[in-house]
Symmetry: C2
Subunit: 341 residues, 2 copies
C-alpha cells in the first residue's frame, strides 16, 4: 500500500444543465493503508445512470447530495485486492456504490459479493442484474402489478431499465408499447425485443400515437422521463391504472422549471395510482429478481445490450449520452481489466 | 298520477366558469303514470356537491356528462309515494341520484332505503352519512391508511368531507392540520373539531405555514382542491406519504388551464403514492362506514354542520357557495317537507 495511486473524479462545481467535464476534477491520490475492518476494492466497471445527475444537485433527494470536493458517487463492480474484514477475501468480486475512482477503501457496508459464474459476464450485473434489473423487476411487478392482457407503456424504452421492463411485461402477458427517441431504438425494441409497438417521440406525436397503439387505453405506465410524455400518457389511462414513477430524465438537466403537469385530474377521475419507486428500497429482495431474470435469460426470453466505454477519464462526458439519446444499451465505463477467474 | 306536476332543472348550456342560472332552465312537467316496476319518489333534500360542476362539463369523467336538455344530476333523499316495485313501499325514505327535480320516476336501481331512526335527522344522511361520510371514511382509511402519530393535512378542511376527514384522522391518532379559506372556518375546525392547526390559505402562505405546523413533514394529504395547494403540500411530504386525490375544487371552474403541477418529482424521491378516489366504488361497503360513524357520533367524537337552503329554484345559484367559500357546512336544498314518521 501507499505506493498505489488512485485517480478519482471529485465534484468541482454545482452543475447547471448537462454535466460538463469542468464540473468535476480528476485527482490522483495515494491509496491509504487499510485500518480496522476495511477492504481495498479495485474498480473494474463503473455504471453510468441518469440518477447520477440527481446526486450532484444541491437539492435534497433520496440520497444526500454529493458535496463539492467529494468523490462522485456511482454504482460499480470491483475486485477485492486486500481485506481486513472477515466477510471479504482478496479476489472477491463486489458490487456497490464504489464511486468514480480507481480504488475504493471501504468498511464493506453496501458491498455485495457477486457469485463467480463463468457463464455470466460481469457486465451482465449492470445490463441485466444489479440495480438495473432490480429496478425494472420490482418497479414493474411490485408497483405496476401487470395482469395478462393489460396494456403497458414504457418510456426511455430502449434504455437499460426500459428495455427490461418491456420484456418482463411481455413475459407477464401484457401488450407493450415503448416510447424511445430514435428509429433505430424503436426498431430494436420492436423487432428484437418483441414490443408490440414503438413510438419515436422525436418524430411522432406521442398523444396521437398512443391513441393509435393503445386504443383500449393504458393500464400501466412505467415512467422514466416525466414531463410532457407523462402528461400525454395520463390523458390516456384506464380505470385503476398504475403509473410507476421511476425516473424523470426529461427534467434532470432542466435549467428552467417545466410547464408543469396538467392531467393530474385524470388520476382522480380514473381512480389511478401514481407511485414513486427507488430501487434502494428493495435491496433485501434482490435475490428474487436475480432468480427470475436468470431463468428468463436461460430460456431466451430476455436480452440486454451494453455500451462499454474505456477509461475512467471519460465518465463526465460520456454520462451525457443518457440524456442526449445517443447511448445504445446500458452505459458502462471500463475502469480496469477483469481479473482472470 | 297525471295531475302531479314536477319542477325540474334541465341543463340549458355548457357552463363556462362559475355556474349561472342561465346555464339551466326550470321546467314544469306532468309526472307520468308508473309502468313496469317503477317507483315514484318525492324529493325532500337535494345535496349540492362540488362534483356537480364536473358533471356539466362536456369532458368524459367518472360518470357520463349531463347532456343539454337533460335533468341535472344530483344526490338527494326522497320519500316513495307510489311503488310498483316489490323492493320499495310507499313511505320508504330513499337516497340516490334523484336529481334536481321535485319528483323522480325510477326503476329503483341506485336507490337505497334509509333506516327510519327518529334519533337521526334525515339531513344527517348528507352531513355525516351517505356519500359525504363514505367519501371521508374510505378515502382516508382505505387510501390514506393513517397510522397513529402520523401527520395528516386536509384541504377544504371546513367542507362537508374535509371536516369529517380531519375528525376521523384525530380518532385514528393523527396530528391533523386543516387548510380552509376563512378565519371563521379555521376557528371552527380548530376549536370545535379539535384539529391541531389550521391554515387560512387566503391570508397565509400555505408553504410557510406547512413548514411551521408540519415541521416533521406530511404523511397523508387528503386533497379536495388540487392546484397550488397540492403543489405546496407535495414539497413537504415524507417518505412513503399517501396523497388521496378526492377533489380538485380549485380547478372545476377554471376557464384557462392552470399553471400545472411542479413538485411531482417529490412523489418519486419520497416513494410516495398519489391515488384517485371516487366514492361510487365503495357502494358495496357503505354499511362499514355507517357503523363506525354512528358509533363515533354517539360517543361525541364527531360532529357536522349543515347549511340548508329552501326551494329547488335556488339550486343553480346556491351551488356556487361551494366554490366561493361562503358555504358553512354541508350544502343542502330543501325541496319539500319531510313526511312525519
Amino acid at each position: 500500500m501507499g505506493d498505489r495511486v488512485s485517480r478519482q473524479w471529485r465534484l468541482a462545481a454545482r452543475p447547471a444543465g448537462m454535466l460538463k467535464e469542468s464540473d468535476f476534477v480528476l485527482r490522483e491520490e495515494a491509496v491509504p493503508a487499510l485500518e480496522g475492518e476495511q477492504v481495498l476494492v479495485r474498480n473494474i466497471y463503473l455504471s453510468l445512470d441518469p440518477t447520477n445527475r440527481i446526486w450532484v444537485n444541491q437539492a435534497e433527494s433520496y440520497l444526500p447530495p454529493i458535496q463539492i470536493g467529494e468523490i462522485m458517487r456511482g454504482f460499480a463492480i470491483g475486485v477485492v485486492e486486500e481485506s481486513r474484514n472477515s466477510n471479504f477475501h482478496a479476489g472477491d468480486i463486489v458490487q456497490g456504490l464504489i464511486g468514480w475512482q480507481e480504488y475504493a477503501v471501504s468498511n464493506g457496508s453496501g458491498l455485495r459479493i457477486l457469485p463467480k459464474d463463468p457463464t455470466i459476464p460481469l457486465t451482465a450485473h449492470f445490463g441485466l442484474f444489479g440495480h438495473i434489473g432490480t429496478t425494472a423487476y420490482f418497479g414493474l411487478l411490485d408497483i405496476g402489478k401487470p395482469k395478462p392482457g393489460e396494456t403497458l407503456v414504457v418510456s426511455a424504452a430502449a434504455g437499460a431499465v426500459g428495455s427490461l421492463v418491456g420484456q418482463i411485461g411481455k413475459i407477464k402477458g401484457c401488450r407493450v408499447v415503448g416510447i424511445a427517441g430514435t428509429d433505430e431504438k424503436c426498431r430494436w425494441i420492436k423487432e428484437d425485443l418483441g414490443f408490440d409497438a414503438a413510438i419515436n417521440y422525436k418524430t411522432q406525436s406521442v398523444l396521437r400515437s398512443l391513441r393509435r397503439h393503445c386504443s383500449g387505453g393504458v393500464d400501466i405506465y412505467f415512467d422514466n422521463v416525466g414531463g410532457k410524455t407523462l402528461d400525454a400518457v395520463l390523458s390516456h389511462i384506464n380505470l385503476k391504472a398504475r403509473i410507476v414513477l421511476c425516473g424523470l430524465i426529461s427534467q434532470y438537466n432542466a435549467t428552467t422549471p417545466e410547464a408543469g403537469l396538467h392531467n393530474i385530474s385524470n388520476v382522480l377521475v380514473k381512480r389511478a395510482r401514481m407511485e414513486g419507486f427507488i430501487v434502494l428500497d428493495y435491496e433485501h429482495r434482490v435475490e428474487e429478481a436475480v432468480a427470475d431474470l436468470t431463468k428468463w435469460l436461460a430460456e431466451g426470453k430476455i436480452q440486454y445490450r451494453i455500451d462499454v466505454v474505456d477509461g475512467l477519464e471519460q465518465a463526465p462526458n460520456v454520462v451525457n449520452r443518457l440524456f442526449d439519446g445517443s447511448n445504445k444499451g446500458k452505459l458502462i465505463v471500463r475502469v480496469s481489466d477483469e481479473p482472470s477467474l
